[in-house]
């Protein structure tokens, strides 16, 4: 296991105390994600996948245990410090896209850069570049309601990568998409990995997990399986997109 871990979750528990009974969403989870991995997180509903993603994304802090990004312990940082970590190191892709309505694609993509000391011109240049990377350069001026679901998710991916993060976290990025557009999105995520970004994604579909290089399964707040595999290349073409089982061997 040559490379040091990019994300290191060390015996982390998360307990929600909102109701009468404390909900133990994660129980003693340890997980290391290495640079260049495309990790798929699977598990049934309510198993704790999103909770894990929120911790990995520094949107939340663990109740117990430590979490290190790039060797730095971020489990006890303040809200403001976590915001800076998110801004610099993490990109998010959501199931429901989460684009700002009535705001053009390029401005949506610019959003993370707004919280960095950059000039407006430089922000715009990088945002257009990111849009070009997801193949939507010519849609820069379109508003989300003028884009298809797949296009919206591509804009969201552009927003996730515009800040050149180390890791992109995607919680069910294909959950709202049909199988064809899902493959398109997975192709983009694989491209990100090829470009050196680590990707963690949550999915319910084995077809989607087949595009990952590693699959873990979460059950009742614990990681129960952890499998490395050769990822199926996502070819954004309907006929190929059907392929792939959990342990499928990739096409060379």
């Amino acid at each position: 296991m040559g490379d040091p871990a990019l994300l290191a979750v060390d015996n982390v528990s998360k307990t929600y105390l909102t109701g009468d009974v404390p909900v133990r969403a994660l129980i003693g989870v340890s997980l290391e994600v290495r640079p260049g991995e495309l990790l798929a997180v699977m598990g049934s509903s309510g198993s704790g996948k999103s909770t894990l993603m929120n911790l990995l994304g520094c949107l939340d802090r663990p109740s117990e245990g430590r979490y290190l990004i790039d060797g730095r312990d971020v489990s006890r940082l303040s809200r403001a410090e976590l915001a800076v970590v998110r801004n610099r190191l993490i990109g998010f892709v959501f199931q429901s896209f989460q684009l700002l309505p009535r705001t053009s694609a390029v401005e949506n993509v610019e959003l993370p850069l707004l919280y960095r000391p950059l000039l407006a011109g430089e922000r715009r240049r990088r945002a257009l570049q990111a849009l070009a990377r997801v193949g939507l350069a010519e849609r820069a001026g379109h508003h989300p309601n003028q884009l298809s679901g797949g296009q919206q998710q591509r804009v969201a991916i552009a927003r996730a990568l515009v800040g050149e993060p180390k890791v992109v976290l995607a919680d069910e990025p294909t959950g709202n998409l049909d199988s064809v557009t899902s493959v398109e999105v997975m192709a983009l995520l694989q491209q990100l990995v090829a470009d050196g970004i680590t990707v963690v994604l949550v999915t319910h579909e084995h077809d989607i997990a087949a595009f990952a290089s590693r699959v873990i399964t979460v059950k009742d707040g614990r990681v129960v399986t952890d499998v490395r595999q050769t990822p199926v290349p996502a070819v954004p073409h309907p006929t190929v997109a059907v392929a792939g089982t959990l342990h499928a061997t990739g096409v060379p």
Binding site: A80, V84, R86, Q98, L100, R102, L111, P112, Y115
Partner: protein
């Protein structure tokens, strides 16, 4: 986040809801407009009073015969003619604080000149009157000691009288004015002084020598002055001291002992002017208070809309936080938004207020004074309201949990 981007984001959010932003600022517009207009009216009234007293002379003291405090019982103004010509002489010569003093014998009577008739106030006085009132002539010459001593039949006209009778004031000089049938030579016309604080026309007056007044107009020669004495203090700010000196002198001369009430009364115009000003000050304060309340209501309107805006944009806040907005960035974003709202409202309000004041002056002749410092204060205050009332919604936004915010429907 750079200040410029913060402002741009705020402006975009407002522009997106133009109607709502407009209606929200209305409260501040009305509040600030009211403040500016009200203060303009108050200041205008104050300035008018001040001007009126200034043209009269704030260094003036009027000494009236008889005790005015018991005026009702004693038969009112001038009942006892307790002031003598010797009293006047003593005031003129014995008091250090007195610049000059002159008698004022007055009656209202019609006068005739150039074939026209005009009811005016005829006043018997001395050459000192022009010194006391600091009143120059625009044509001819003032009354002189020789006129007073010789009881000559000469008259100096106020601007209004000369205008009413001769049309052209300059034409009056050298012509004949008849008072109660007696012809007087018009020797001069005074410069105009305008209105008194009570709205009386200072220039509606005819001045004749005091002795002539007593023999030809009213009264007959007596030891007592059938009128009042007008005293000018040497120093405009020492009218109170002057009044004390005059009072002490007259009590002494009238042989009043401790406990006796004054048999004369003293009106200090500076004090009256102060009282008047205090009155307008109170009015201004009252109007300000009303305006401040409407500003407050405007502020609450802003808070309300900002709370709505924060709720509506919960998801947006979640997204911004997820991509790296710190709580302080979110706080500033909403604070700047409410600040922009209130300052724009304040700026429009200033326009409305100044316009309103101008309209009141143009249409109804109300005196108004728009003070730049009031404008600055009004805008500053509306900014304060924007921050003050925007703080709570902004803090609520900043305190949102990004995960919850992203899930918000």
């Amino acid at each position: 986040m750079s200040p410029l981007s913060v402002l741009r984001v705020a402006l975009r959010a407002l522009v997106r809801n133009k109607m709502r932003a407009g209606l929200t600022t209305l409260g501040v517009v009305i509040g600030v407009g009211a403040v500016v207009a009200m203060v303009a009216i108050g200041e205008g009234a104050k300035a008018q009073v001040q001007k009126a007293f200034e043209s009269m002379g704030t260094d003036l003291i009027v000494v009236l015969p008889g005790s005015q405090n018991f005026g009702g019982m004693q038969g009112g103004f001038g009942s006892g003619q307790t002031l003598t010509w010797d009293d006047l002489h003593a005031i003129q010569t014995e008091l250090s604080a007195v610049r000059a003093a002159a008698p004022q014998l007055r009656t209202n009577t019609p006068v005739l000149g150039d074939g026209n008739n005009w009811g005016t106030q005829v006043m018997g006085t001395t050459a000192d009157f022009f010194v006391v009132r600091n009143w120059a002539l625009q044509f001819g010459r003032p009354l002189q000691a020789s006129d007073v001593d010789g009881a000559t039949k000469v008259a100096v006209l106020g601007q209004s009288v000369a205008e009413q009778l001769w049309g052209e004031p300059a034409r009056a000089v050298g012509d004949v004015l008849r008072i109660k049938g007696v012809p007087y030579e018009v020797i001069g016309v005074l410069t105009p002084k305008g209105q008194s604080p009570m709205g009386m026309d200072y220039d509606d007056v005819v001045l004749v020598p005091a002795k002539t007044f007593m023999t030809k107009v009213q009264g007959g020669i007596k030891q007592n002055i059938p009128g009042s004495i007008l005293v000018a203090a040497k120093n405009g700010r020492e009218s109170a001291r002057t009044a004390q000196q005059v009072q002490a002198l007259l009590r002494d001369r009238h042989k009043l002992v401790d406990g006796d009430p004054d048999d004369f009364s003293i009106r200090n115009l500076a004090e009256m002017a102060n009282a008047q000003q205090q009155g307008t000050q109170t009015l201004t304060m009252l109007l300000m208070a009303i305006a401040a309340v409407s500003l407050l209501v405007g502020g609450i309107g802003i808070m309300n809309i900002m709370l709505v805006s924060v709720t509506e944009r919960t998801r947006e806040i979640g997204v911004r936080m997820a991509v790296g907005a710190r709580p302080v960035d979110v706080l500033l974003q909403f604070l700047v938004e409410s600040l922009t709202l209130s300052v724009i409202g304040g700026a429009i309000g200033v326009g409305v207020g100044v316009g309103g004041a101008w309209l009141l002056t143009a249409k109804f002749g109300w005196p108004t004074v728009v003070r730049p410092d009031v404008i600055a204060i009004a805008v500053g205050f509306s900014a304060l309201i924007g921050v003050g009332f925007g703080l709570y919604p902004a803090r609520r936004a900043a305190a949102l949990d990004p995960i919850q915010a992203l899930r918000y429907e």
